[in-house]
């Protein structure tokens, strides 16, 4: 910044205080999802650090597979946690995605309160990424918990990824900094007729960190041997 401009800003800050012009906030750091298309879609190179991101989509839209790929990618960098409210997580599937299982903590809470307490405590202790698998019918009471959780998450610079059904609650939509809506456009079958993956159509519905509305389409292969 030129000296004269800096001087002018200082004068304005002295005269007008907080109303004076100030440099834009630094770019939000991001954590790669391990999927190049998704990283490009977010506009900041991955999932935002210290914020809540929402992966929304109907059943079979590939949101859990994408979330688990992100967890696998983050586990290669540091400790990660997976809050498995439905109790459906398959570690074998994760291991096929090259997840470092020794760095993965799987939390199986009975209630949303337990889940959110776990997120708070784990985020604060230095876990890099927390994925929360939250079915729609279990989302009761989340609106009261989210502000506290996000405060801790922002302090601890932890990435929180929420996997939720298509119609997320207003509270989740409000607190999420990034909402990626997923839709299955086609199944991918192999030559032998076996299911090999899913073609997903992703749209950034909300983005506080980059322009929203971006769309991308890519194939998500299932790690089936």
């Amino acid at each position: 910044m030129p000296d004269r401009l800096q001087q002018a800003i200082t004068v304005l800050q002295t005269r007008f205080g907080s109303a004076a012009p100030r440099p834009a906030a630094p770019a939000c750091p991001s954590r790669s999802s391990g999927i190049a298309e998704l990283d490009a879609l977010t506009g900041i190179g991955g999932w935002p650090v210290g914020r809540l991101s929402l992966l929304a989509g109907e059943r079979g839209s590939g949101k859990r597979t994408l979330a688990q790929q992100s967890v696998a990618s983050a586990s290669r960098e540091g400790p990660v946690a997976y809050i498995d409210l439905p109790g459906r997580l398959d570690p074998e599937f994760l291991s096929r995605l090259d997840t470092r299982l020794d760095r993965l903590l799987i939390v199986r809470p009975k209630t949303v309160t337990e889940a959110m307490a776990s997120v708070r405590v784990l985020a604060r202790s230095g876990v890099d990424m927390i994925a929360i698998d939250l079915p729609r019918r279990r989302a009761m009471g989340l609106d009261a918990e989210l502000p506290h959780v996000l405060h801790r998450v922002a302090e601890a610079e932890c990435t929180v990824l929420l996997i939720h059904d298509a119609d997320a609650d207003d509270a989740i939509r409000y607190y999420a900094s990034l909402i990626v809506s997923l839709q299955r456009s086609a199944w991918i079958f192999g030559r032998d007729g076996d299911l090999k993956g899913v073609q997903v159509d992703a749209t950034v519905v909300k983005n506080r960190l980059a322009p929203p509305g971006r769309r991308a389409c890519w194939a998500v292969p299932y790690p089936i041997t």
Binding site: E92, L104, L105, R108, V121, S125
Partner: protein, 396 residues
């Protein structure tokens, strides 16, 4: 006068205490013979065969093929170190840990009031150390820590060496300059000047030494005359904070139990405040009249000191505890003590100033919500194609 008490390396002492038959054998600690690593401690028998500390384990095996190789038991070693200092602390509070392992210092001035005869005093010290560690220490007595350490290195167990302050310079004069804490440059300079003994160094005048080597080297020069400027850092014995209350008649209702627990929390809090400490783990032991005692662990995310914070942790555990008989005693013991100032108000800094390890966080969650809350998974791809066989779930 300062006494230096030197025992064998604490790792060796720990090994001897665990397996007394190893005494008198060539014992090499640091790892097993085939492992990559360095020797951490050696017995005199192994040293006589050429094994030295810092040597590779494979090389050590070549020197002492009949030697016994063992890894160092770190916990036991720490216990031995602590035991030596605690034993001396029982004699006098003026105790300091030495830089070398197995070495401790104590001021003898106050002890001479109790034992005017110096030889009797040194015999008492040796007896106390031998009683605690089952090894006979070498004792050196001199006017400073450095000289007493050199004297202890020279002395043999059972025959203390006393160097009067007036004789310190003469005592050191015969020794090699290697016993001084020289940096590489200074050592090289002194060798270039042909100075091999401390006596040679003593022959140089202080101003000349300062001109040649600078003001920082004057500490070494003073040490050569037995003047030690190092601070005396007194050993503080570990603090044990606990409170207990016998319940007579035995109680069987939770209201009364909470009332007493609150009083005990206040007592613990007072002790913590006295020492300026906070606790991160509290053990509650409930002794039952006709059943086994119930032990409850309470973990805190950060060091807590106040009675209300302690009781906030205690109360829900007491209400959840499965008590099957009237209680006849309740005791609280504070563990994992840390300085109480660790936690800063959130107004002053962005976070509230404490960090908790992931292991602690997981332990706290498991203690709060059950061991099955946080789990780790292991995949065994070679196992039978059944989920229970291929995936092993275990508490984190």
């Amino acid at each position: 006068m300062i006494g230096c008490i030197r025992t064998a390396h604490p790792a060796l002492v720990a090994a001897w205490l665990t397996a007394p038959h190893l005494r008198g054998r060539a014992l090499i600690l640091g790892g097993y013979a085939q492992e990559r690593g360095a020797v951490s401690a050696v017995s005199n028998e192994a040293r006589a065969q050429g094994v030295a500390i810092g040597m590779g384990l494979t090389q050590a095996q070549q020197f002492a093929p009949e030697g016994i190789f063992q890894p160092v038991d770190e916990e036991a070693t720490a216990r031995v170190r602590q035991s030596l200092l605690s034993t001396l602390h029982r004699l006098t509070p003026d105790v300091a840990a030495g830089d070398d392992p197995g070495c401790a210092f104590l001021r003898l001035d106050r002890l001479t009031l109790r034992w005017p005869d110096r030889s009797r005093l040194l015999a008492e010290i040796a007896c106390a150390v031998e009683g605690a560690l089952s090894v006979s220490p070498a004792i050196g007595v001199a006017g400073s820590m450095f000289v007493s350490k050199v004297a202890a290195d020279v002395a043999r167990p059972g025959s203390p060496l006393i160097v009067e302050p007036a004789n310190s310079a003469a005592f050191l004069g015969r020794r090699s300059i290697d016993i001084l804490p020289l940096d590489d440059d200074l050592r090289e300079y002194l060798e270039l000047l042909g100075l091999r003994t401390i006596g040679g160094l003593q022959a140089i005048s202080r101003p000349a030494f300062r001109r040649q080597f600078g003001i920082k080297a004057l500490d070494v020069y003073d040490l050569a005359f037995g003047i030690d400027h190092r601070d005396w850092r007194p050993f503080k014995p570990p603090v044990r904070i606990q409170a207990a209350e016998p319940l007579d008649p035995p109680i069987d209702n939770t209201e009364a139990l909470q009332f007493i627990a609150r009083a005990l929390a206040e007592r613990i809090s007072t002790s913590l405040l006295t020492y300026g400490l906070g606790t991160r783990a509290l053990r509650i032991t409930l002794s039952q009249e006709t059943a086994k005692p119930v032990v409850i662990e309470v973990r805190f995310a950060y060091p807590v000191t106040t009675a209300s914070e302690l009781f906030d942790g205690i109360r829900p555990r007491l209400l959840r505890a499965s008590i099957s008989a009237p209680l006849e005693r309740i005791s609280l013991r504070a563990g994992r003590l840390e300085p109480g100032y660790v936690r800063q108000p959130g107004l002053l800094i962005r976070r509230d100033g404490f960090t908790e390890s992931i292991a602690d966080a997981v332990a706290r969650l498991q203690e709060e919500y059950g061991a099955s809350l946080v789990q780790r998974a292991e995949v065994h791809p070679d196992a039978a194609p059944l989920p229970d066989h291929r995936i092993l779930w275990k508490p984190a």
